[in-house]
């Protein structure tokens, strides 16, 4: 009796294992004597969306900021362990930290457009890198705004004020700004929490289309968003000492939300605490 092949199994077998874009090994972050994050080991796969979820104050944003050395900007912050990008430790002394921040861009919770025109916001990064010809800048600006799904809405008003855009548009502008310097990774720290539901869905759709080309890491306290949007989910929470955050479980998103292995993850995603 011929039995048809189960389609989903064969589809999974056909896709190759993705490479690791960022590898985190035994990472700890301390602010003075306070250990915010410790014993973190994590692999971020390329061209996929990884979500970091967990209750407030468990160190998710702190962890995210180690991926592009934003922690350097906090006085007294000390990072130990390793964060490698394509195999090279970004905390090595010879590393060009500005280039790290170009390759690993960041989008924040509150959209933060510069008080300039839409065009100048997106052109800012490229100009810093020495692009000055009008035509070249115009092309980069259009390309980035298209990739950020904002071009059609602003093409006729590129020289108007960016802060005059709606919240959702401002956030897509910030994404365009990050894209303009050709990053490889985009970090997003609660990118939708200041936005209305429709704007949120647009950003989520945008994330998926960007994940074809870029590696995305998103910190979110919105579990449904993590479930909708991500391929891999990492659950973070405070450890035994109730002070230091660590990753307690990582898995493909479907498994985390249908059958997590750790009881604490189960309790968190089902809303029993957090």
């Amino acid at each position: 009796m011929r039995v048809p092949v189960n389609r989903s199994e064969s589809a999974n077998a056909a896709s190759p294992t993705p490479q690791t874009k960022i590898q985190v090994k035994d990472l700890a972050v301390a602010y003075g004597s306070f250990r915010a994050v410790a014993e973190v080991n994590l692999e971020i796969p390329e061209t996929a969306i990884t979500a970091i979820i967990g209750p407030s104050g468990c160190g998710k944003s702190t962890l995210l900021r180690t991926f592009n050395r934003m922690t350097d900007l906090v006085a007294g912050a000390r990072v130990t362990g390793e964060v490698t990008l394509d195999g090279a430790d970004i905390y090595a002394p010879t590393v060009d930290v500005v280039d790290v921040r170009r390759r690993v861009g960041m989008v924040f919770q509150r959209p933060n457009p510069f008080p300039k025109s839409i065009f100048d916001n997106v052109a800012y990064g490229p100009r810093l890198y020495g692009v000055s010809r009008r035509a070249a800048l115009a092309e980069i600006v259009e390309h980035s705004l298209r990739k950020a799904a904002l071009w059609d809405e602003v093409r006729d008003k590129l020289h108007t004020s960016a802060p005059a855009l709606s919240g959702g548009q401002q956030q897509r502008l910030c994404i365009a700004r990050a894209l303009a310097v050709e990053p490889e990774v985009i970090l997003m720290d609660e990118p939708c929490s200041a936005l209305d539901p429709i704007a949120t869905l647009k950003i989520e759709d945008l994330m998926r289309s960007l994940a074809v080309t870029y590696t995305i890491v998103i910190v979110t306290h919105n579990m449904q968003q993590a479930a909708r949007v991500s391929d891999i989910t990492a659950m973070m929470m405070l450890g035994e000492d109730r002070k230091t955050g660590t990753i307690i479980e990582v898995g493909d998103t479907k498994s985390i939300f249908t059958g997590p292995k750790d009881k604490r993850t189960e309790d968190y995603v089902t809303g029993r605490f957090g």
Binding site: N6, R7, T17, D205, R228, K254, T258
Partner: protein
């Protein structure tokens, strides 16, 4: 690891694609159950014990596919948070897949009976029982088509054939009782055939359940589609 979404497709497209895939798997499982049922009755008629053993072993595949569909539905619910009709459709699929698995068990039961009867000849040639099987399987095929297509009109039609299955069952029942009364040595053999007929009658009843689900899904009407027979 399968990617959560294919590139730039919208949420709606992704959900519809996932539901379409689950529906295909559902129809596939339905076909398997149809084949199993017909083969089980045929192997009884032909006294083919090897075929019956194969059917019993292959029931595992029906169970495996049932769980695969269930997992797929849970994954869609967890990761895409469908609501309204989409959610009711997905929970209806869980229901239907359970009915299919039970129908698979009926086919396995018929194959087991063939082995239990063993080398003894059947007490009578099988005529009505294969007819019951054909009708029940035809009903299942149409019911699943109606479910996947959201065709409430067809879903209302299909259960009418259940009356024909019930009539055949009564015929078989009466005939076998006559055998048992006239010759007690046939009681064993007659009882086995009665179980086979009963399994097929139950299968047809479960098809009716699937049709009720389809109608509920489309119209919100909660129906009990009882057979025309009186309960004496």
């Amino acid at each position: 690891m399968a990617k959560a979404g294919g590139g730039s497709e919208g949420r709606r497209v992704r959900l519809e694609r996932d539901i379409a895939r689950i529906n295909e798997d559902l129809l596939s499982l339905g076909s398997l159950v149809e084949q199993t049922t017909l083969q089980a009755v045929d192997s009884l008629k032909q006294r083919d014990f090897a075929a019956s053993r194969r059917i019993i072993r292959d029931d595992r595949e029906i169970n495996r596919r049932r769980f695969a569909i269930e997992e797929a539905v849970l994954a869609v619910i967890a990761t895409q948070q469908p609501v309204a009709h989409d959610l009711r459709l997905l929970t209806a699929i869980l229901d239907v897949v359970t009915e299919l698995e039970r129908m698979g068990d009926y086919g396995k039961g018929i194959a087991e009976i063939n082995l239990r009867i063993g080398e003894k000849p059947l007490i009578k040639p099988l005529i009505d029982v294969p007819r019951m099987a054909e009708k029940a399987v035809a009903m299942l095929h149409r019911a699943l088509g109606a479910f996947v297509a959201g065709d409430a009109a067809l879903a209302r039609e299909v259960p009418k054939a259940d009356d024909e299955v019930d009539q055949l069952y009564n015929q078989v029942y009466n005939e076998l009782v006559m055998y048992m009364i006239s010759d007690p040595r046939t009681i064993d053999g007659a009882t086995y055939l009665l179980w086979v007929a009963h399994n097929l009658e139950r299968l047809a009843d479960r098809v009716t359940n699937i049709c009720e689900r389809s109608i509920f899904l489309v119209s919100g009407e909660q129906l009990e589609m009882d057979s025309e027979q009186d309960i004496a």
